[in-house]
């Protein structure tokens, strides 16, 4: 889910057009536009898009 808005310990995230409020207490330096993994109403970690691209490249090149 993507962070659209941050208000203190909470953030508004969107996924597939649906918006909801989640806790961001455990995130280090959350920013608008970050992709996050959400579990039971809280973001548990950010998704590292650079690492995701690296993994996709490894998968592509894997022999």
């Amino acid at each position: 889910m993507k962070i659209l808005k941050i208000e203190g310990d909470k953030a508004i995230v969107s996924s597939g057009g649906v918006q909801r409020s989640i806790g961001i207490n455990f995130l280090k330096g959350p920013k608008i536009g970050d992709y996050v993994i959400v579990h039971a109403g809280f973001a548990i970690e950010k998704l590292d898009t650079v690492k995701a691209e690296e993994t996709l490249k490894i998968l592509e090149e894997l022999q």
Binding site: M1, K2, S15, G16, G23, N25, F26, L27, K28, Y35, I37, H39, A40, G41, F42, I44, E45, K46, L47, D48, T49, K51, A52, E54, T55, L56, I58, L59, E60, L62, Q63
Partner: protein
Amino acid sequence: MKYIDEFRNLKIAEKLYRLINEEAEGLCQVNFMEVCGTHTMAVERFGIRRMLPENVRLISGPGCPVCVTPKNYIDKAIGLIGLEDVIIFSFGDMLKVPGTHSSLLKKKSSGKVKIVYSALDAVEFAEKNRDKKIVFLGIGFETTVPTVAASIKYAKKKKLKNFFVYSGHKVMPPAMRLLAGDKEVNIKGFLCPAHVSAIIGIKSYADICEKYNIPCVIAGFEPLDILQSILMLARQVKLNIAKVENQYNRVVRVSGNIKALSLIDEVFSTHDSEWRGIGVIKKSGLVLSRRYSDFDAEKNIDFPKVETKMDKGCICGSVLKGIKTPLECGLFSKKCTPENPYGACMVSSEGACAAYYKYPHPNLLP
């Protein structure tokens, strides 16, 4: 959601199957275990288990939190409903689990059982209904625990006297260690849980590699994640090495989530805990720490005495340990279905029996 379709690419999946087959050639029979309910569902949904070479067996471990919750916990939770002013709040998965005489679902019409998506919802209800005692059923592994810890901390901040957690929380590495040393299960590699690892990091698995010579690969939830992780495990087995590898590094950091970990440490402490079908595992459960004992349901509420009778014919225990598959159970899909579950593994959407039942003819990819 970003990075879902990318990790379901059919062409790359076919390549991974080919590479796993090549790697498996010449290997003895190997058992790889997944210990995360979401992996179990993905593996069934995408038919991965059945597409692997014959000598690579993927077995499901105790990765579903509802399934490993002892029956006595359910009975005690149901017992609470009889108390005046008590309202139970729970994640939805728990409701259908059969206790000895009833289930939370059957008691729902009393208006004293409510489903929530987050523990925080229960705290907010407690804040608005101070004449009621709110008991939240804390079920879940390390992924869920910090969310409950944050909710308890919030209740403390709001000085609530009517919010309690009945903690059945568990942590995964002690169970993995127990299974690693079980010769009957005979595990040659672990697919480590994705989101549990996002919290605890990768170091918790190092001693499993060292002590039991079992490779551990932290795997994401998409088909390519799982297939790549199986390939990584097979390559380690072939080279006779055992180390922790992190396939899901787009989410899992080496040290885990420090903020969440310190919150768990603050609010909970470990104790010996019973796992349904497995028994008591040392230091595998979490109860509220002394500092937060005012929010501990077991310390502040007089639980009515209940009698728990053990299941007959249900092989959930062997299924949870990966010794048997759901198909080997005489009750599976006959007496035991998701609509009328007999054992916990059929109840939870993450249970191995529910996964086998839901996807009798899985597709390679959607």
